[in-house]
């Protein structure tokens, strides 16, 4: 089925399967592998994207329901030359190990900082509690983002 949406600032017209998830459309249909598939149940946040101003698990969004939506994935936040502040903070602060959860954390944290540039430690923990990291114990991620919040 034909879908028109705005993806990372560009208007796109794409063909999606009737039962396809947004995650599958991004990864397999549009060549954007940054959003990761780790659980397909909305439990781990590895596939987090921002859709119409809300952070959502793209594995739980039906691609067919994104017609007319405005979607930002990790690829839309920064690139090698111009990192988003959250991306730079995680690289510098030891917030990255295996990195599989990282794109989801980047999108979720960028979304948090957009609405609250100086989150408290508890606010950071709560806002990112839908994103699972198995490597860092969250310490490196927390310090990175506390630094960005000026704490």
């Amino acid at each position: 089925m034909d879908i028109r949406f705005r993806l990372n600032g560009e208007d796109r017209a794409v063909d999606a399967g009737a039962s396809q998830s947004l995650l599958s459309l991004l990864r397999d249909g549009l060549g954007l592998p940054g959003s990761k598939n780790a659980c397909e149940q909305g439990e781990c946040g590895s596939c987090t994207v921002v859709m119409d101003g809300r952070a959502v698990c793209s594995c739980l969004v039906l691609a067919a329901d994104t017609d007319g939506a405005d979607i930002t994935t990790v690829e839309g936040l920064g690139d090698e030359d111009t990192l988003h502040a959250v991306q730079a903070a995680l690289v510098d602060g030891g917030g990255v190990q295996c990195g599989f959860c990282t794109p989801g954390f980047v999108v979720a944290a960028a979304h948090l900082f957009e609405s609250n540039p100086t989150p408290s430690t508890d606010e950071i923990r709560e806002a990112l509690s839908g994103n699972i990291c198995r490597c860092t114990g969250y310490g490196g991620i927390l310090r990175s983002l506390e630094g960005l919040a000026g704490r």
Partner: protein, 739 residues
């Protein structure tokens, strides 16, 4: 005299150097195995056994093969070479050989044009199973002599007696590594009968050595390449879809990709061994340990995998880091129809540490002694024999040091908040501070580093110096822990040249670097890189008649005498090395011998808040002191310690695969609980740097100890808060409430 380039080079050892893969990972273009693609690629999918034990009555792929877009369906009959695989013993059929022996065992594999078609084809395979009675109880398995390995220890006087005796029985549930990235691989036929494979792995050469045998190819016709891996923790030490995806690629002549979904991933890799352990400690009235007796059973699941080595670790670290003259242990790894178990961070030592530390606390209570004083009184140190094997410990072993430095870390302030994010049960608003009791507990652990028991453990590396800088070639696998950063730092410091790249190297280009496990790559791959880098530096200095090497070239008496361009005019200067740690022995019939290459100690203190009425626990803080030999990268060390502790906390209070007749009931991230950001404790740490005799610059492997004693420390803290015995992990709410 050679000038020591030492630590003055930028990006050398001791700095929190940034990861070379950090930026690709934060912008989302780091290529994991599941991200790979090739022109004309097919997708694989797997038919699995729905029972823990079942006979295949009928398996007919004809109807499924007729679905448009289905290119191949393969069963065990289609395996051209060795029909089985396995790291220690090839006892697992590549695909079910008539009888499935665990839930989720692969029975057939499909290649189709797209993933949906592949899944549909799996569902369309005409298969009939006859369920058989599964063997799921590890004691029953032992009774039937279904034993992968029996390992005894008989040391000292078995009739020795103490004045105080403490007996205990302990259980450990089945923990899953739950790496965020699932099993994934891409196989591409080379057009000449061979195949190239990119797959989630911790040890490419070991996999390769099994794969070519089953494919009936020559070793050089199969090349296994490193690829991005979304975490491992032991789950990639044994193979998953490796042979399947190669079989499909060779059969179809097209690239084939397979990616397990989360439900498949749970039975798709080995887990931590569940354990049942019976312990008896005897001590003199002053607390001196006299004898430790133990019987340990580990559930090895359906196939052997690394169970024998895990049993060895459990048995040889039965007592923990304490002097005991008499040790009598019987350890068993048994075969059941439960999901296969194998490597997970801590590798057998996690289970016994929970038991021996529980015993030490109970002994302290029986003696009326402070639990830390009891541990210090018996602390094992350099020059002592390992109480199980008799091996004299030559590496620095600051057992007292880790205990004292841990105890010196200030305790957190009392609970002073009614913010639900800081209360047991969290934002569920389930409790108030009035119902919360705080507890504090300690635990200490001893772990071997690298492979033991006479294993020929080596790592290869090649260091190449050219005008553009240094290349390090190694097959050592980066799984997220930061090895690539540390290898760069070692090479920079050893050579004096800043520009260092770690080059992904496939199995045909260099020999094995061994597994990324057993806390070994910093010492093993790191040792190889150091040795090769020093050789290259010596060659460069000799060629130019200099006394120092930098990124500019070779220097003599403070003057540049040869640039890198001039130095490498006839080609790069390189050195290839195979690094081995000091040899180890096989145990004799009593488990005696020099079985281990190196040791490390760590101690943990947990602080918990518990609502005993509701059975809710919040782990407030877990502090640690650990001997790391030398800190090569402070940020990486901290990251390994914090991540390892949280996995230990997970085992203590939430992580368990729940089985019914061998079937995993919670094979999803909805039902297998993992610690979230709100579950993560604060962590304060003291790092002790007592140099390893053979680690690079004295560094010790340090990835596993954080996971080992953190679990019993949390349990001890919950016991302290509740007064309960708590002889099983994970501790569930009902274990606290008794309802």
């Amino acid at each position: 005299m050679t000038t020591t380039t030492g630590t003055r080079i930028r990006g050398g050892i001791g700095e929190s150097v940034k990861r070379p893969d950090g930026i690709p990972k934060v912008i989302g273009n780091f290529a994991y195995a599941s991200d790979l693609a090739a022109d004309g690629m097919l997708w694989g999918a797997t038919l699995r056994s729905p029972y823990a034990r079942a006979r295949v009555v009928r398996l007919d792929p004809a109807a499924a093969l007729a679905i448009p877009g289905v290119q191949a369906i393969l069963t065990q009959d289609d395996v051209p070479g060795r029909k089985t695989f396995g790291q220690i013993t090839a006892d697992q059929p590549v695909l079910v050989d008539g009888e499935a022996r665990f839930w989720g065992e692969p029975a057939a594999v499909v290649a189709a044009d797209d993933p949906e078609t592949a899944r549909l084809a799996v569902a369309a395979i005409d298969v009939e199973w006859e369920e058989l009675e599964p063997l799921v109880d590890m004691e029953e398995a032992l009774g039937r002599d279904e034993v992968f390995r029996y390992a005894p220890v008989r040391r000292g006087d078995p009739d020795a007696t103490g004045t105080v005796v403490v007996e205990g029985y302990y259980e450990v549930g089945m923990q899953d590594q739950a790496p965020l990235g699932t099993e994934a691989g891409l196989a591409i036929p080379d057009g000449e009968g061979g195949v190239d494979l990119w797959v989630t792995s911790q040890w490419t050469h070991e996999d390769h050595d099994q794969i070519w045998r089953s494919l009936d190819l020559a070793p050089d016709q199969v090349r296994q390449h490193p690829t991005g891996i979304g975490g491992a923790f032991g789950a990639r030490e044994d193979m998953s879809l490796h042979i399947h995806v190669c079989l499909l690629a060779l059969r179809t002549g097209r690239p084939v990709k397979m990616v397990y979904n989360r439900e498949e991933s749970f039975p798709g890799h080995v887990h931590r061994h569940p354990a049942r352990m019976w312990y008896r400690h005897e001590a003199d009235a002053d607390g001196t340990l006299v004898k430790v007796e133990a019987k340990i059973i580990l559930d090895g699941g359906a196939y052997m995998d690394t169970t024998p080595a895990v049993v060895g670790n459990a048995v040889y670290f039965t007592t923990g880091p304490y002097r005991v003259d008499s040790v009598q242990v019987d350890g068993y790894g048994v075969r059941t129809n439960n999901p296969p178990t194998g490597a997970m961070r801590g590798f057998g030592v996690v289970q016994v540490c929970f038991a021996h530390e529980s015993q030490m606390d109970r002994l302290a209570e029986a003696l009326g002694m402070d639990p830390l004083e009891l541990r210090k009184h018996n602390a094992l140190t350099t020059g002592d024999p390992l109480p199980t094997t008799g091996q004299i410990i030559e590496t620095p072993l600051p057992t007292v040091g880790v205990i004292e430095q841990l105890a010196a870390i200030p305790l957190p302030p009392p609970l002073d908040s009614d913010d639900p994010r800081r209360l047991p049960g969290g934002t569920g608003l389930t409790t108030t501070p009035d119902y919360v009791t705080r507890g504090v507990g300690y635990a200490v652990s001893l772990k071997n580093i690298a492979f033991s028991e006479a294993f020929d453990d080596f790592a290869e590396a090649r260091v190449v110096l050219s005008p553009s800088g240094v290349e390090v070639h190694t097959a050592a696998v980066e799984v997220g822990q930061g090895m690539v950063t540390v290898l760069q730092q070692i090479a920079r410091t050893a050579l004096g040249v800043e520009q260092v790249a770690i080059v992904p190297t496939d199995t045909s280009e260099i020999g094995s670097a061994g597994s990324t496990s057993a806390s070994r790559q910093t010492q093993m791959a790191g040792g190889a890189v150091l040795e090769a880098a020093r050789a290259v530096r010596d060659l460069a200095l000799e060629q130019a008649g200099g006394d120092d090497l930098t990124s500019d070239g070779v220097w003599r008496a403070g003057e540049l005498v040869m640039t890198l361009d001039e130095l490498c005019a006839d080609g790069p200067i390189s050195h290839h090395t195979r690094f081995r740690h000091p040899p180890t022995e096989e145990p004799d019939e009593n488990g005696q011998g020099d079985l281990h290459a190196d040791f490390a100690v760590a101690a943990h203190r947990a602080v918990v808040d518990v609502d005993a009425e509701l059975g809710l626990v919040r782990v407030v803080q877990v502090d640690t002191a650990q001997d790391v030999g030398l800190v090569l990268n402070p940020q990486s060390v901290r990251g390994q310690i914090e991540g390892g502790i949280l996995q230990g906390v997970g085992l203590a209070v939430m992580e368990e695969l729940v089985l019914d007749r061998g079937i995993i009931l919670n094979a999803s991230f909805t039902d297998y609980l993992l610690p979230t950001f709100l579950d993560a404790p604060e962590v304060e740490m003291a790092l002790i740097e007592e140099p390893s005799p053979w680690g690079p610059f004295g560094a010790k492997g340090m990835g596993e100890p954080p996971t080992i004693s953190s679990t019993p420390a949390v349990v001890a803290a919950i016991r302290n808060a509740t007064g309960l015995e708590l002889n099983r992990v994970p501790i569930r709410p009902q274990d606290i409430t008794g309802t």
